[in-house]
Symmetry: C2
Subunit: 172 residues, 2 copies
Amino acid sequence: MKGSVFIATSLDGFIARLDGGLDFLPDDPEPHGFDEFLASVDALVWGRKTYDFVQGFDTWFHGEKPVFVLSSSDLKKPPAGAIVERMSGDPADVVAALEGRGFEHIYVDGGVTIQQFLRAGLIQRMIITRVPVLLGSGIPLFGPLDTDISFTHVATRQYPSGLVQSEYELTS
Amino acid sequence: MKGSVFIATSLDGFIARLDGGLDFLPDDPEPHGFDEFLASVDALVWGRKTYDFVQGFDTWFHGEKPVFVLSSSDLKKPPAGAIVERMSGDPADVVAALEGRGFEHIYVDGGVTIQQFLRAGLIQRMIITRVPVLLGSGIPLFGPLDTDISFTHVATRQYPSGLVQSEYELTS
């Protein structure tokens, strides 16, 4: 099982404002590989907050990919057409359960969830797109670790809007 | 007066470990523009902690460029050949004093000092080199702000060692 992260952050490492706001992202950036990335995964794993937040959107961006939401309590009803299932347990349990069901590549999203999977050594690839702004506060992408985690740089792409996207693989 | 930052950080935004340690930097990276950058400034402005830390090095990397150390108390004796002067005051005072002495481009270094100058709107250029490792804790490059600060991406360079260096200018 491979776990990947695809996310945008401010230069100071925030993935959203404290209220979840994403107004600092460019309104209409050029395509920067999200569709290709989404096509490469066979399931999504989200934290509960990410699920609740995405429910506020008019559009469901995730097609027919199953979304597993980590939560210990019932979820709000998913949008029409969305395939959503609640799971609970620590990251290793979640990965074992999904492996048992034949999934091979998960897209892990949400600040707390990404941090938990990183700490558990279950993120093999990170594609981080940096927006050229400092926010000063917000929801951080990264958090405390028990030990360093080394990555190998794969590629960096720069976009006319000023976004810079770097792709890293866990150093084996 | 132009203020610039040239610094390396971990992927999670730390410029040093909590004890000041820099062991996560590559031992012997390829040149990545420091000499050219240093040649472009006419003075350095450091926080007191940076000055004290650099005193532990065998080598003084800053040639005959004057180094202004922000501190309210006396400094340790500078290394032979170094031009070091203590200053105090807030960033605007420091910049006004240095402008009055004819300086045009300062290199601002040290986590606290960089944060103070950013908050005061006195950093026009940032060259940030990202090391592909997550540390989980350390001395952060960035800190709280009163408002967003928008930058314009100038260029990003990738190096065989895995370092990725992005250059930004304050959006005018």
